[in-house]
Symmetry: C2
Subunit: 131 residues, 2 copies
């Protein structure tokens, strides 16, 4: 893997992602960083997010709302998407990699990985509906 040339923009993008737990989209990254870097370009945000995702430094989440979300936490974990407010929340749960073995039983190819998203109502939305 070729070495990257340092850039303040990429550094700021990764710093920003590390500081957040809410899995921002490219546009959210752009809008937020614009305050500190007024002439940051949206193309730069997209290019660096893809670059970092390709290198495995961040995760690209396709949660189904049509726009990609990003996560700087690359440790194995799962995500929950609230159908009420759309928020993307980390789940702390035990490993379920055995589902790949289950899926492979009647399959004649090779399974290398899986992506799972859980859907429902988040705690805040549940609470709001009660009142």
């Amino acid at each position: 893997m070729a070495a990257l040339k340092y850039s303040r923009q990429r550094e700021a993008i990764k710093e920003f992602l590390l500081s957040r737990k809410d899995h921002p989209t490219a546009d959210m990254v752009y809008t937020s960083l614009r305050e500190e870097y007024p002439n940051l370009s949206l193309g730069t945000v997209y290019r660096n997010l893809s670059l970092l995702a390709d290198r495995g430094e961040i995760l690209r989440l396709r949660v189904g709302d049509g726009t990609d979300h990003f996560d700087a936490d690359v440790s194995p974990h799962y995500h929950f998407i609230c159908t009420g407010c759309g928020s993307v929340i980390d789940l702390e749960m035990e490993n379920i990699d055995q589902i790949e073995d289950i899926a492979g039983v009647n399959f004649n190819g090779q399974i290398y990985g899986h992506v799972t998203y859980f859907y429902g109502k988040c705690g805040a939305c549940c609470k709001r509906e009660l009142s």
Copy 2:
């Protein structure tokens, strides 16, 4: 749920999906049906696919390649996406709904469902790489 007015186009779209096992995209539906219905509109295809998906008559699959795929088989089953050729294949596997219980252990909201895609090399791509 309001009753739908019959339309030959919607009928043809659903018939087409039922006849296929390869989970076509909107554009694939449009291109194929155009042979029989030369003045079918792409907008009609999109509108009816969304309509059918909203009513639960078909499934919308967001496999991660940027375009939605559709499946007329609404019985519970899982999908495999080949990273070699991009094909979307049905998996015959035992139920893994218990992962929702596992996910809910340390979570303060309600989990109503999950979406799982398995990734890897399909049988044909495995074979091709050997030769």
